[in-house]
C-alpha cells in the first residue's frame, strides 16, 4: 500500500503522461495492444481485476478498428493508433482510426435475452466496452479521425 501511495505522489508531481502505440491493421497485433495497456495500468497501481477489464475493453475497440474501419484493400496502408494519458486519478485511452466511421447512436445495445433468442453472433463489443469502463465517448469524423475514448478511474 505504501508503495502505491508513493507512486501516486510521484505522478501528481509530474502531471499527466502520454503514451502512443501505432500498429498495422492486423489481428495478430491485438496481443501487443493488450500487453501495452495492461503494463501501463499495472504501473499505475490498478488491481489485477481492473487490469483484466481495461485490457478487454481496449481489445474490443481495437478489434472493431481492425474488422470494421477499413476496406480489405485499404488495410495494408492504414494503422491503428492507441493513445494513452495517465493522470493521478485515472487512465484515459483513445483508440483511433481514419476509416469509414459509424454512428454510435444507431448501434443498439443488445437486449441480452432477445439476443440469445435470436442467437446472433457479434454486436457484443461496444456493449462490453460500456460495461467494462467508467466512461466512454465517441468522436466520429469518417475518413479523418474516428476516436473511442475510454476512461477508468483508480478506485
Amino acid at each position: 500500500m505504501e508503495r502505491r501511495v508513493n507512486k501516486m505522489t510521484d505522478k501528481k508531481k509530474r502531471g499527466s503522461k502520454h503514451y502512443h502505440l501505432k500498429l498495422p491493421i492486423d489481428t495478430a497485433n491485438l496481443e501487443i495492444i493488450r500487453e501495452f495497456i495492461a503494463r501501463i495500468a499495472q504501473n499505475m497501481g490498478f488491481t489485477g481485476e481492473e487490469i483484466n477489464r481495461i485490457e478487454l475493453a481496449v481489445d474490443e475497440a481495437s478489434t472493431n478498428v481492425i474488422k470494421h474501419a477499413y476496406k480489405t484493400e485499404d488495410k495494408n496502408s492504414n494503422f491503428i493508433d492507441i493513445e494513452v494519458k495517465t493522470f493521478p486519478d485515472r487512465l484515459e485511452i483513445y483508440v483511433i482510426d481514419r476509416g469509414k466511421g459509424f454512428d454510435p447512436a444507431k448501434i443498439k445495445t443488445p437486449e441480452m435475452d432477445a439476443y440469445f433468442k435470436k442467437m446472433r453472433r457479434g454486436g457484443l463489443g461496444l456493449y462490453l466496452i460500456k460495461t467494462l469502463m467508467d466512461k466512454v465517448d465517441y468522436s466520429i469524423k469518417p475518413g479523418v479521425r474516428n476516436k473511442v475514448k475510454m476512461v477508468k478511474y483508480i478506485s
Binding site: T27, E31, R34, D59, M112, D113, F116, M119, G125, L128
Partner: protein
C-alpha cells in the same frame, strides 16, 4: 509456445474440445473451424473445456453463439466446463449462463450428457 491451441478428444458420443491460451479475434477462426469439423461429422454432443484458456474476448464468445442453434436443432448440446474465474467473468457479464450450461469439472458435463441419453 503457440498463442492458441485446440485439442480434441472423443469419449463415445461426446466430443471434447480443450482450448488453451488466448481466444481473441486473431485465434477465433481456429476454434470455429474445429467446431465446424465436428458439425460436419454430425457430432453434436460437445463439451468445450476451458481449463487452459487464459483470455477470451467477444470474438471468442461469438464462436459459441454461431454454432449453438445448429447443434440444438440436431438434438445436441454444447456444454462448457472448467473456466477460470477471469474467463467465466466475461461469459457472465454477457449473460451466457442463461443460454449455456457451465460446469466446474469435465466429468459433470459428461455425466449430464450420459444421463440425458438414458432418459
Amino acid at each position: 509456445m503457440d498463442k492458441f491451441d485446440v485439442f480434441r478428444r472423443d469419449v463415445e458420443e461426446i466430443s471434447i474440445l480443450n482450448i488453451q491460451g488466448f481466444l481473441d479475434a486473431h485465434t477465433a477462426p481456429d476454434f470455429e473451424s474445429e467446431l465446424q469439423k465436428l458439425l460436419k461429422e454430425k457430432r453434436f454432443n460437445i463439451i468445450v473445456n476451458l481449463d487452459g484458456l487464459q483470455y477470451i474476448s467477444s470474438a471468442g464468445l461469438g464462436v459459441f453463439m454461431g454454432v449453438i442453434e445448429d447443434i440444438r436443432t440436431n438434438d445436441g448440446d454444447l456444454k462448457i466446463c472448467c473456466a477460470a474465474p477471469k474467463v467465466f467473468k466475461v461469459f457472465d457479464l454477457l449473460g451466457f449462463p442463461s443460454l449455456y450450461e457451465f460446469y466446474k469439472g469435465e466429468d459433470q458435463a459428461i455425466q449430464k450428457f450420459k444421463s440425458n441419453e438414458k432418459s
